[in-house]
């Protein structure tokens, strides 16, 4: 026997209710994941940029004016 239209609507309703149940359990569970973080709605905490670091990524580009440290004869 083929399922009736009301069976399809009931299946859709069960799916929505189940999704809500699962998401609620995830939010309340201590082992649950941070939904906003997982969904990409919130970025992980990143420390503020340290403008004084001497790593190569912070090194001056060819066209930049010399930094006070470099002009004082310090190696990067």
């Amino acid at each position: 026997m083929l399922p009736k239209r009301k069976d399809l609507w009931a299946a859709l309703f069960i799916f929505c209710a189940g999704m809500a149940l699962g998401l609620a359990v995830n939010a309340l569970s201590p082992k649950g994941f941070d939904f906003r973080m997982a969904a990409g709605l919130k970025q992980a905490f990143q420390p503020a940029t340290d403008w004084d670091d001497d790593t190569p990524s912070a090194a001056a580009k060819p066209g930049d004016p010399p930094s006070p440290k470099a002009s004082a004869g310090e190696q990067p």
Partner: protein, 178 residues
């Protein structure tokens, strides 16, 4: 034809299938509900969904499995639940086939609890002595079950059959459908 229809629509067969599939989903949702973060990690390995959809899917799917498993056994909406679970099986099968065709070696992360029980039961000396065929079958079902393979796809097809049988069963009024 009428004999086939009579067997197909037999209440005992219908109840057995409802119980099998319902328990399968209830138990497989336990592991996912108890550790959603781990399930998110497993679902991420499939590389099928964007971040937002993946979070919704991984968060909500265990609830869908639990609820539809319970309704399949205990409620008059068993046909609707069976329809939903058939759809889920088709989605799982499509995902597994896509993983195989992309040549990925990933953990299936499906039915972990049930398969570990089946493996323990299959290797028990009592079962090997009394029903070696069943013991072999259970062991074969669990061997290499962690990695996605054609065996994993076949296992899902194996469980899809009773789900479809329930969804398209001619039995309606007798089994309590409103």
């Amino acid at each position: 034809m009428s004999a086939l229809r009579r067997i197909w629509g037999h209440p005992a067969l219908l109840w057995a299938c409802r119980l099998l599939v319902g328990l399968l989903f209830i138990f497989s949702s336990f592991g996912k509900l108890s550790n959603p973060a781990e399930f998110l990690g497993s679902a991420e390995q499939y590389q099928l969904l964007p971040k937002f959809a993946l979070a919704v899917w991984a968060g909500g799917l265990p609830g869908v499995e639990m609820l539809s498993g319970l309704l399949l056994i205990f409620s008059p909406w068993w046909r609707a639940s069976a329809l939903l679970l058939s759809g889920l099986f088709l989605v799982f099968i499509a995902a597994l086939i896509s993983v195989i065709f992309r040549g990925m070696q990933i953990d299936c992360s499906c039915m972990d609890i049930i398969l570990s029980w089946a493996g323990v039961f299959g290797q028990s000396p009592w079962l090997m002595a009394h029903a070696p065929g069943l013991a072999w079958h259970l062991t074969a079902l669990t061997e290499g079950s962690h990695l996605v393979s054609w065996g994993t796809v076949l296992r899902d097809v194996y469980f899809l059959a009773p789900t479809l049988l329930v969804a398209f069963s001619p039995e309606r009024a007798k089994a309590g459908q409103a």
